[in-house]
């Protein structure tokens, strides 16, 4: 192809911005553009011409874990919060209790998704808690079968997790948080916990972001990303 024909250059730049080039042609065009400032300007001009169409997609806030993942990938240090801060901020915040209300409202939907995705589960599996992110979107679900003293904690959909990081589950019942193990981020996997580990009274389940093998301490060292109140009694 002759890349010095001005008309062709302009058309290729337009096709590139539209996104219709097949992968190999696209890769070749990008190599060409890297050494050709004029072609880069043609591409920028087309991007500008079409840009009014971008705002016709109605803006929607991405879930908060996307920003957390970006922070990790650009090497931001994990926020180290004192336990009391992390826990107080969960239990004390109005947002949390609103989250609980929202979680209850979404329970039916989450349960439906859960049932559809986990057909192997006995039908009487009871939902104990829905863990939501800071925007109130359900992310993990804790369930227990009627005849089982195990609790399953599983993601409702696959969560993004950077290399050498893990999600650690904690039970918070009044006092100190109790570590319950690492929750897999991928859908179809789960963490099993003996029901007795949860404690009694008002229990909150929380998932914090931790180093690969979990918190090196007896408390969360990273931010709490997901949380949910245990609904109903365990006894």
């Amino acid at each position: 192809m002759k890349y010095d024909d001005p008309r062709l250059r302009e058309l290729l730049a337009g096709e590139y911005v539209l996104g219709v080039m097949p992968p190999l042609v696209k890769a070749r065009f990008e190599r060409l553009m890297a050494g050709d400032a004029a072609l880069t300007r043609e591409v920028a001009a087309w991007a500008d011409r079409f840009s009014p169409l971008d705002t016709t997609a109605e803006a929607v806030a991405p879930p908060s874990h996307v920003w957390r993942a970006i922070e990790q990938r650009i090497g931001a240090p994990l926020a180290t919060r004192a336990r009391s801060n992390a826990i107080d901020s969960i239990l004390g915040s109005l947002g949390f209790w609103r989250g609980v209300a929202a979680a209850s409202a979404m329970l039916a939907a989450a349960l439906l998704v859960f049932v559809l995705l986990r057909p192997a589960e006995p039908p009487e599996a009871a939902v104990l808690a829905v863990l939501t992110d800071s925007s109130g979107t359900p992310a993990f679900i804790a369930t227990r079968g009627q005849h089982s003293d195990q609790i399953d904690v599983a993601p409702i959909r696959t969560q993004t997790l950077a290399a050498q990081r893990s999600f650690e589950l904690w039970a918070i019942a009044g006092g100190a948080p109790k570590p319950l193990g690492l929750v897999p981020p991928a859908i179809g996997k789960r963490l099993q916990v003996p029901a007795s580990q949860l404690g009694s009274g008002d229990v909150v389940l929380a998932i914090s972001l931790e180093p690969e093998n979990g918190s090196p301490r007896a408390e969360p060292t990273g931010p709490v990303l997901f949380q949910g109140k245990v609904l109903g009694t365990l006894r």
Binding site: L11, A47, R49, S51, T55, W67, R73
Partner: protein, 181 residues
Amino acid sequence: MNGADALDLQLLIRRVARRDRTAFAALYRRTAPQLFAVAVRILQQQADAEDVLQECFVAVWNQAKTYDAQKGAVMTWLISILRNRAIDRRRRRAHAPDWLGSEDELETLLAGSGDDADRGAARAELLACLDELEERPRRAILLAYAYGYTHEELAQQLSAPMGTIKSWIRRALERLKRCLE
């Protein structure tokens, strides 16, 4: 986005180029909702759109110093980075998602409300020029830009041979360029 906002973004991106994390967080807050919407529209799937948004901002963090105000608005630059990745991701899927929109949805895409005068004028101009195209070439352009359709998918959706689709697009691009000059 008005002129003052655009200038703000220019200042933010310059600070991001100097590794200013506060500016990066502010840039994210300001632009992520619009970028995410564009990713969801192309990918028609939340998890993939989240991944692509993440890749986009990691790339922005690493490439902020290559941003050149001569080459266009910050938002346009961000959208280019995002669309490039979203379209690549869409192509790598074994099966592209079915577009579930109705015929009318393309028209609502055009009717989206302008949030300020600057944007509104540019949009009105583009829409007027798109209006001058014939029906199917116009739809080909919109489906490709907004939904990431390939030539093959366009051929199927618009019931025309690939060669016809390609020449519709080229002619439409030429006419748009002339109309917008």
